[in-house]
């Protein structure tokens, strides 16, 4: 009988942590953490002694020293190969930490700077006729209207195209579609904006700016995302459901609308919400299509329309007399955007978890 691992460890003679190479010793389980924390403390102390202590520097040097420390320690006890493994593992973990640092810093800054600019006025009044101040109601209304129009355009086209690709399409057209949808996800957002501008300029003349132009530009960005996610969920609807439906004499279109789509419903909704979250914060395409305006305009077919992202950009770029107040409003708009994006993402996940059809 093979003894459980703990038993073997206990039975093995305890070796000193300074055992020689090749002696087959093993570092204790806490070794990587120990090395890292020790290195952190060491670097913190040295920096404090030198008088240029910052948390960022302590973490960076702590990770480097920790990698060297664990390598040296493991090399003495476990040999060169294990030492390399441990050092690289710690380096990879450190790289992950480095990659997450911007996210933490960004969220912290947006929240702490954004709350200063938030007020009741920010949400309920526009900036019409107000010198260097006012609210962002026009931007919030504009964001919602433009995004809603973009979704109204993109969702039917995107889902029908995904149905075509998954249920009907075959041969070269299907392959071309798959390929070009992938390519389309790579269109820069500013190019989508220029496309919408060019399209409308041909019909309405130069200098045209309307909310719906922004929606068209955003659709170019949204459609491929909707298709990708819809295709993914349609693919996992099992074929035996379709076959059972055919066997009952149901025509194909009814099979799709009554069997396939309901089965995939949760996934489709999730995909649409995530796509919406992706485009709601777009700035560049709206900068060239919907323009900048101080008063609330809820009609996408007439005149300029403000939007939260463009509002934030504008408050930063051309601050009023009271610079800091403008910057505060820019951060407040950024915070509002991030909150909207997060809410959309969370709801999307909840919808998926709550309503997904168990497929066996």
């Amino acid at each position: 009988m093979v003894p459980p691992p703990e038993a073997t460890l206990a039975a093995a003679p305890r070796r000193s942590i300074f055992a020689h190479e090749g002696s087959g010793g093993t570092l204790p389980k806490w070794a990587p953490w120990g090395a890292f924390v020790g290195a952190l403390a060491f670097c913190g102390a040295v920096e404090a002694a030198l008088g240029w202590f910052t948390i960022a520097l302590m973490l960076v040097f702590g990770a480097l020293v920790g990698i060297v420390a664990i390598y040296a320690w493991s090399r003495v006890v476990e040999g060169a190969r294990r030492a390399k493994d441990r050092a690289i593992t710690m380096a990879i973990a450190a790289a992950f930490g480095v990659s997450m640092a911007p996210l933490i810093s960004l969220l912290y800054e947006v929240v702490s700077r954004g709350v200063k600019g938030l007020s009741w006025e920010f949400f309920t009044s526009d900036a019409r006729g107000v010198v260097g101040g006012g609210g962002a109601e026009q931007a919030i209304v504009g964001t919602l209207v433009i995004t809603a129009c973009a979704a109204v355009i993109s969702v039917p086209i995107g889902i029908m195209a995904a149905i075509y690709m998954n249920e009907y399409g075959r041969g070269p057209l299907r392959r071309a579609l798959t390929f070009f949808v992938d390519v389309m996800t790579g269109i820069p957002s500013i190019v989508a904006g220029l496309f919408a501008y060019s399209l409308f300029e041909l019909f309405f003349g130069p200098g045209i700016q309307m909310g719906i132009m922004g929606s068209i530009a955003l659709s170019v960005l949204m459609i491929p995302i909707v298709i990708r996610s819809a295709e993914e969920v349609l693919k996992i609807v099992p074929d035996h459901l379709r076959e059972a439906s055919y066997a009952l004499g149901t025509p194909k279109w009814k099979t799709i609308t009554k069997v396939v789509l309901p089965t995939a419903f949760a996934g489709l909704v999730t995909g649409v919400m995530i796509a919406t979250a992706r485009i709601i914060g777009e700035t560049a395409p709206l900068l060239v299509t919907t323009g900048v305006v101080d008063s609330t305009n809820a009609n996408p077919f007439s005149g300029r329309m403000q939007n939260l992202a463009v509002y934030a950009y504008n408050e930063y770029r051309s601050p009023g007399v009271m610079k800091q107040a403008s910057y505060d409003r820019a951060w407040a708009a950024a915070l509002t955007l991030i909150v909207i994006v997060m809410i959309l993402n969370v709801i999307a996940r909840l919808v998926y978890r709550r309503y997904k059809t168990e497929i066996r």
């Binding site: 800054e109 070009f180 820069p188 279109w253």
Partner: protein, 317 residues
Amino acid sequence: MASYDTTTNAGQLLATASGGRRRRGDRIFSRTALLAGVTILALLAGVAVFLVTEGFPALTASAAELPKHESFISYVAPLAFGTALAGVLAMIIAVPLAVAVALFITHIAPKRVALTLGYLVDLLAAIPSIVYGLWGIFVLGPAAVPVMKWLEEKLGFLPIFAGPASITGRTMLVVGLVLAVMILPIVSAVAREVFAQTPRKLQEGAQALGATRWEMIRTTVLPFGKSSVISGAMLGLGRALGETMAVAIILSVSGGVSFNLISQANPSTIAANIALNFPESSGLAINLLIATGLVLFAITLATNFLARMIIARSEVR
């Protein structure tokens, strides 16, 4: 009689027998789906066609007619250079980190937390670019000033760190860092997917031969994922090339061509140049900007095309 296809079966024959109405429904539905599919292709073609139409006047105008009194080529060349510099810099920073992030999530972190960590990385992709721009100019830029000063003092002999170091942090290096953060989730998503697909028997075989975890990763996971990582890197590059707002906000622009990453004088990028100048432009200046947009479209299209080709080829294998 009805024409048979692969889905024809007894049930459908019955349905056919009960009248043409249902088949009409089928026809309408499948045509609509086809129409939606064709719309996508038309849309992509439309983007190209309208950009060409609107950019054409600037492409054919003589240097004297154009707003800056220089030919289109000499106007767009430094912008294209700046675009490539920012994109490549972001890619160089992001790809090693993205590979490490993907390895950490798929092979090192405990399974319980791996999913959550994946969400965190995806969160980076959900943050709007305008927020990255504000963060770059107000937070990262000022924080990078002492680092860039240090780089100038210690590594100033390298052309890329020649300085004089910026005192505002609005440099190409900071732009590259911010773009790197923005494309990291894209590259790591591709890498994560392929690393997770590494055949178990290869990994277990390596470990059975006594390989440590790193040796297993180096000999099985990395070679298996190599081509996908390359294409993921190119997808990220495509995104970085087209990124507009973060660059427009952060970069202090002087035009010209310079490899200097830490100075106040930088070449602009195509996308940022459009965003900065479009709102105040009119007439031929608009056409000129749209023509540069066409160049950007061509560059990103080529990059994405190449990336997708690599993916498609490695999937066939």
